[in-house]
């Protein structure tokens, strides 16, 4: 049973972690004469079995819409730079057999966050399952498939923040990912994803 100290920490991060998010100045991966979008804000939230991770990316930085990279240590790095990259990234994760999915966010989807069943992970297990990584203007999620308990799924959601950047949330849930998700309040989904 978790101690109060641990539960409070989880709730602090989940509810207020965004306050601590840094706002890095994003360098573009390939310099082009394109409009630089709003600077990104990144927020990391980890909860006891309910972990939310917000990563923001600058838009129009001359980067590809998504990247799913297999690392030598067995981890997988997922980057979503544009909402159009959600579906192909999701398909690539499935091809690789990674227990992580990015269901499309649709306003007509009957599945809301309240319908999800967060896996019962300690904050440490959550952190081992995924972590935010960044550098060279790219901010991504690195997944350790081995750390995700069998039967659980790392659910990634990509959406457009009202201020412009693409953000992602991550949550380890029990069972498979839903076919789609309804947007949280204030989030703009990728349409058909």
């Amino acid at each position: 049973m978790p101690r109060f100290e641990d539960r409070l920490w989880s709730e602090l991060v989940e509810r207020h972690g965004a306050v601590l998010a840094e706002q890095p100045v994003l360098a573009r991966a390939a310099p082009r004469r394109v409009r630089r979008g709003p600077l990104a804000a990144a927020a990391l939230a980890l909860a006891l079995g309910l972990a939310a991770l917000v990563i923001a990316l600058g838009r129009g930085g001359g980067t590809s819409a998504y990247a799913v990279v297999s690392n030598p240590d067995g981890t997988i790095t997922v980057t979503i730079a544009e909402l159009a990259g959600v579906q192909p990234a999701n398909e690539r994760l499935e091809e690789l057999g990674v227990p992580a999915r990015i269901p499309p966010t649709r306003s007509d989807c009957p599945t809301t966050r309240a319908d999800l069943h967060p896996a019962h992970l300690t904050p440490e297990q959550s952190r081992e399952s995924f972590e935010a990584v960044g550098g060279n203007g790219r901010y991504s999620i690195r997944i350790d498939p081995q750390a995700i308990p069998p039967g659980d799924t790392l659910l990634l959601r990509a959406y457009e923040e009202p201020s412009g950047p693409i953000a992602m949330r991550a949550l380890v849930i029990e069972g498979p990912a839903p076919a789609c998700l309804a947007p949280d309040h204030g989030q703009t989904g990728p349409g058909g994803g």
Binding site: M1, E5, L8, E11, L12, E131, A132, G134, G135
Partner: protein, 206 residues
């Protein structure tokens, strides 16, 4: 004072303790750039100062739920003012105790829990048995400190707080002086005077 306390044994069946099992995670994170170093820094402060904050409120309240609420309120306030903290001027302990003092002062002025029970955020969630036991442990630990606080009660607010901040919260006299808005010299005089009075009146600490 309570940096690394012994804990109630409710978690004896857990495979690991989150505070003592961070080596592997640290080694993992060395190879990558964390997205929010400030979050990691805040966690370090939280973990190191949780006991001091819980003790601060355990000296004032004997209800575990209230200790939990005020501790939570303190760290919510801390997380929102973390960017304004200057670690070169204020130690983590002095900073968090300062936040706790302000939270408690607001609580004393007006406690929204009394009129709007159940409407608060994370702090208001009911404690389970293990958490209640954990907070009762803090309250028990502070029993002797509460006795000291009772002995200090007839003295001036400044004298009481000087002794508490230095002798119980383990701030330096300089930190306590800044927190109380007095000069370090004045604080030392008050400390010496109050400690001497406590000794004259006999018994216990100080």
């Amino acid at each position: 004072m309570h940096e690394d306390p012994l804990r109630p044994d409710d978690n004896a069946d857990q495979q690991s303790d989150s505070l003592n099992d961070s080596g592997a995670e640290d080694s993992r994170r060395e190879s990558s750039e964390p997205v929010s170093p400030r979050l990691g820094e805040f966690e370090r402060v939280y973990r190191a100062q949780f006991g001091a904050v819980a003790s601060y409120f355990a000296r004032r309240c004997e209800a575990p739920q209230l200790v939990a609420d005020l501790t939570a309120d303190t760290f919510v306030a801390a997380i929102h003012s973390f960017a304004e903290r200057d670690p070169s001027r204020t130690s983590d302990r002095a900073w968090t105790i300062g936040v706790a003092r302000r939270v408690y002062a607001r609580y004393r002025e007006s406690d929204p829990r009394e009129s709007r029970p159940g409407l608060r955020g994370s702090a208001q969630r009911l404690l389970d048995h293990a958490e209640t036991k954990e907070l009762m442990w803090w309250i028990d630990v502070e029993r002797s400190s509460r006795e000291l606080m009772d002995r200090l009660a007839p003295m001036s607010v400044l004298d009481r707080e000087a002794v508490e901040l230095v002798d119980l919260c383990e701030l330096t006299p300089g930190e306590a002086a800044r927190e109380l808005g007095v000069s370090a010299g004045a604080l030392r005089v008050r400390l010496a005077r109050t400690r001497a009075r406590l000794r004259r009146e006999g018994g216990g600490r100080a």
